[in-house]
C-alpha cells in the first residue's frame, strides 16, 4: 500500500510540473494577445500589419517593414546555414574518421555555447567591415548610398546562419544515425558509390529529421534578438525587392520590441505587443508545420 501511495504522489508531482509548463505558455500567449489586440482594433488590422511606416512619435504604427525584415533575414540564414549544417552532419556521420571527428564535434558544441552578444560583437567588427568593403568597392555603383554601411540583412543572415548551425547539425546527425544500416549496406551492395548512397538513399531516408532540424533552426533565427540588433542596422524601412535588397539595413520584429520597449508610452507599448503577437503567430505556424511533417512521415 505504502509503495502504491508513494508512486501516486510522485506521478502527481511530475504531472503538476508538466502542467506548469502548459500554464506558462498559455499565460504568456494570453498576456501578449490581450495587450496587443487594442492596437489592431484602433488602427485597423491591415493598416498595422501592412503599413510601411513605423513612426510611434506621430502615432503611425506600420509593422510591415519589420515583418519583411524578419522573413528576409531568416530566409538568408537558412539559405546559408541549412546546406552547411546538413553537409557537416553528413560529413561527421559518414565520412570523417575518428580523429577529425574528435576535433569537429567539440567545435560545434562550443559554437552552441557562445552567447548571442558575442556573435553580435563578431558581426559588428568582422563581418560588417567585410560586407562594407564589398558594398563600397565592386558594388558601389549599383547600391544606393544608405545600402553601403555594412549593416544589412546579409550581415545579419550570415551571423544567424552561424548561430543556427549547431541546432541543425546535432539534429541532422541524430536523424542520419537512425537510418537503418541495411539501407546503406543494400545500396553499396548494389554497386552504388558512397556519395550516391548518401544523397540518394541516406538523406532521403532521414528527410523528416533533417526537415525538423531546419525548422528548429528557423525557430531559433526568428527569435534571435541581441545579435541581430547589433548588425542589421535597425532602420525601419522595407528593403528593396530586387537583388540589392540583401544589402539593405532593416529591422526585425524582435529588434523592434527590444529597441523601444524601455521608453515606450502606453500606446507605443501596445504597438510593441502587437509586434509580439505577429511573432507568436509565426512561431505557431512553424510549430504546426513541424508537427504536420513529422506526423505525415509516420512519426520517424
Amino acid at each position: 500500500m505504502n509503495r502504491i501511495l508513494e508512486e501516486k504522489i510522485v506521478k502527481l508531482f511530475l504531472f503538476i510540473t508538466a502542467i506548469t509548463a502548459v500554464f506558462s505558455v498559455l499565460l504568456i500567449g494570453i498576456f501578449v494577445f490581450i495587450e496587443g489586440m487594442p492596437i489592431f482594433f484602433k488602427y485597423g488590422i491591415t493598416d498595422v500589419l501592412f503599413g510601411s511606416v513605423w513612426n510611434p512619435s506621430n502615432q503611425v504604427y506600420g509593422i510591415w517593414p519589420m515583418i519583411v525584415g524578419t522573413i528576409y533575414v531568416t530566409f538568408i540564414a537558412i539559405l546559408i546555414g541549412a546546406p552547411m549544417g546538413i553537409g557537416v552532419a553528413v560529413y561527421l556521420v559518414e565520412i570523417a574518421n575518428k580523429r577529425i571527428a574528435a576535433i569537429i564535434i567539440p567545435a560545434v558544441e562550443l559554437l552552441a555555447g557562445i552567447p548571442s552578444v558575442v556573435y553580435g560583437l563578431f558581426g559588428m567588427f568582422a563581418v560588417r567591415s567585410v560586407i562594407a568593403n564589398l558594398e563600397r568597392g565592386p558594388l558601389a555603383d549599383y547600391l544606393p548610398a544608405n545600402y553601403q554601411t555594412g549593416y544589412s540583412v546579409l550581415t545579419a543572415g550570415i551571423i544567424l546562419a552561424i548561430m543556427i548551425l549547431p541546432t541543425i547539425i546535432n539534429i541532422s546527425i541524430d536523424s542520419l544515425k537512425v537510418v537503418p544500416r541495411e539501407y546503406k549496406e543494400g545500396s553499396l551492395a548494389l554497386g552504388v558509390s558512397h556519395w550516391q548512397t548518401i544523397y540518394k538513399v541516406l538523406i532521403p531516408a532521414a528527410k523528416s529529421g533533417i526537415i525538423t532540424a531546419v525548422i528548429l533552426g528557423i525557430g531559433r533565427a526568428l527569435g534571435e534578438t541581441m545579435a541581430v540588433i547589433m548588425v542589421i542596422g535597425n532602420t525601419p524601412l522595407v528593403p528593396a525587392f530586387d537583388w540589392t535588397g540583401i544589402f539593405a539595413p532593416a529591422r526585425s520584429l524582435t529588434a523592434n520590441i527590444a529597441l523601444e520597449m524601455g521608453y515606450a508610452g502606453p500606446e507605443h507599448q501596445q504597438a510593441l505587443f502587437a509586434t509580439g503577437i505577429v511573432l507568436f503567430v509565426f512561431i505557431i505556424i512553424l510549430n504546426s508545420l513541424t508537427t504536420l511533417l513529422v506526423r505525415r512521415k509516420g512519426g520517424k
Partner: protein, 305 residues
C-alpha cells in the same frame, strides 16, 4: 526497495518546489528596480541606530517619509542613483522614481501627483506654477571616427547632416564618401534632446542606422570611417573623436560656461504653490550637496555649483 521509491519521491518533490519557486520569483514585481529592495534592507539596519549620530555627514538632515519623483527618462537613471545613495545615508527615507518623459514630469509637478517632477530641458514659457532646480547638466557630444578629417562643424552643418540635407563628407571638409548617420532608437532621451537642440522642427534622416545605446553608437562610429553619431558626454572615450561644434570643444568647462551649444539641464521640478515636505527638501539638499554632486560627476554628468 523502499529507499528507491523514497528517493524518487524526494527528487520529484524537489523538482516541483524548484519549478514553483522559479515561476514565483519570476512573477515577483520589480517596480523601481533597486529602490524597493534597497529601502527595505536599509531600514532594517539603520533604524535601531541613533539618528543624529550614525549619519556620516552632519549636514544631512534625517527627515523621514517617501518622495515620489516622476518625469524625464534621461534624468531617471541619475535620480534613481541619487535616491539609492540617499537611502543609504538616511534609512527612514524612501525615494520612488518613475519615468514618463519630461512632459509628464511637468504635469506631475503642476498637479501635485508627484512630489518632484523631472525634466531634461528648460521649462517652456507656458509651463507655470512650478519652479526648476538644476541638479546636473548633460552634454551631448557629436562623434566621428578617429580617422575622419572633418573635425570642426557648425551647428548648421550638424543639423543638415542629421536631417539628410548634407549627404557627403566632401561637403563639410572631409573626403568624398557618403555620410553614415548613426541614430538612437525612438524612445531615447538623448535622441529627444538632440532632436530638440539641433534639429529643431525637422526630423532625422529616415535611412539612418539605429543603435540602441550610447555604447553601441560609439562602437558603430569607431568601426566605420564614414560614420557620425551623438552620445551623452559621459560616454565619451578614446575610441571616437568628438567634433568641435561652432569651434567649441565638448568639455565640462565649456558646458558650464554655456559656450558649447548642445547641452541641456537636468531639472527637478517643484510645485510653486505648496511647500516641499521635509523629506523632499532633505533629498534635494542632499542632491545639491558635495556628496550628491559627486554622484552626478561619477555618472558622467556636469555638476552644478
Amino acid at each position: 526497495m523502499k529507499t528507491n521509491v523514497t528517493k524518487k519521491l524526494y527528487s520529484g518533490a524537489v523538482l516541483t518546489v524548484l519549478a514553483f519557486s522559479l515561476v514565483l520569483t519570476g512573477c515577483g514585481g520589480n517596480n523601481n528596480g533597486g529602490n524597493n529592495g534597497q529601502s527595505s534592507t536599509n531600514t532594517a539596519t539603520n533604524s535601531p541606530a541613533s539618528n543624529t549620530e550614525s549619519t556620516p555627514n552632519a549636514e544631512t538632515p534625517t527627515a523621514s517619509g517617501t518622495v515620489t519623483i516622476a518625469g524625464s527618462t534621461s534624468v531617471q537613471p541619475l535620480a534613481e542613483e541619487l535616491g539609492t545613495f540617499y537611502m543609504g545615508v538616511n534609512g527612514d527615507a524612501r525615494i520612488e522614481v518613475a519615468g514618463g518623459g519630461s512632459g509628464a514630469g511637468v504635469k506631475a509637478a503642476q498637479s501635485g501627483t508627484a512630489d518632484v517632477g523631472m525634466a531634461s530641458r528648460e521649462l517652456k514659457d507656458d509651463e507655470t506654477g512650478i519652479e526648476a532646480v538644476v541638479i546636473a547638466i548633460d552634454g551631448i557630444a557629436v562623434v566621428v571616427n578617429k580617422d575622419n578629417a572633418a573635425a570642426d562643424l557648425t551647428s548648421e552643418q550638424v543639423k543638415d547632416i542629421f536631417n539628410g540635407t548634407i549627404k557627403n563628407w566632401s561637403e563639410v571638409g572631409g573626403n568624398d564618401a557618403n555620410i553614415v548617420v548613426v541614430n538612437r532608437e525612438e524612445g531615447s532621451g538623448t535622441r529627444d534632446a538632440f532632436k530638440e537642440l539641433v534639429l529643431g522642427e525637422g526630423d532625422f534622416v529616415a535611412e539612418a542606422i539605429i543603435q540602441n545605446s550610447t555604447g553601441a553608437v560609439r562602437e558603430a562610429v569607431s568601426q566605420d570611417v564614414t560614420a557620425i553619431g551623438y552620445i551623452s558626454l559621459g560616454g565619451l572615450n578614446d575610441s571616437v573623436h568628438a567634433v568641435k561644434v561652432d569651434g567649441v570643444e565638448a568639455t565640462e568647462e565649456n558646458i558650464k560656461q554655456g559656450t558649447y551649444p548642445i547641452s541641456r539641464p537636468f531639472n527637478f521640478l517643484l510645485n510653486e504653490a505648496s511647500e516641499p515636505t521635509d523629506i523632499t527638501q532633505a533629498f534635494i539638499d542632499y542632491v545639491l550637496s558635495p556628496e550628491g554632486q559627486a554622484v552626478v560627476a561619477d555618472h558622467g554628468y556636469v555638476t552644478v555649483e
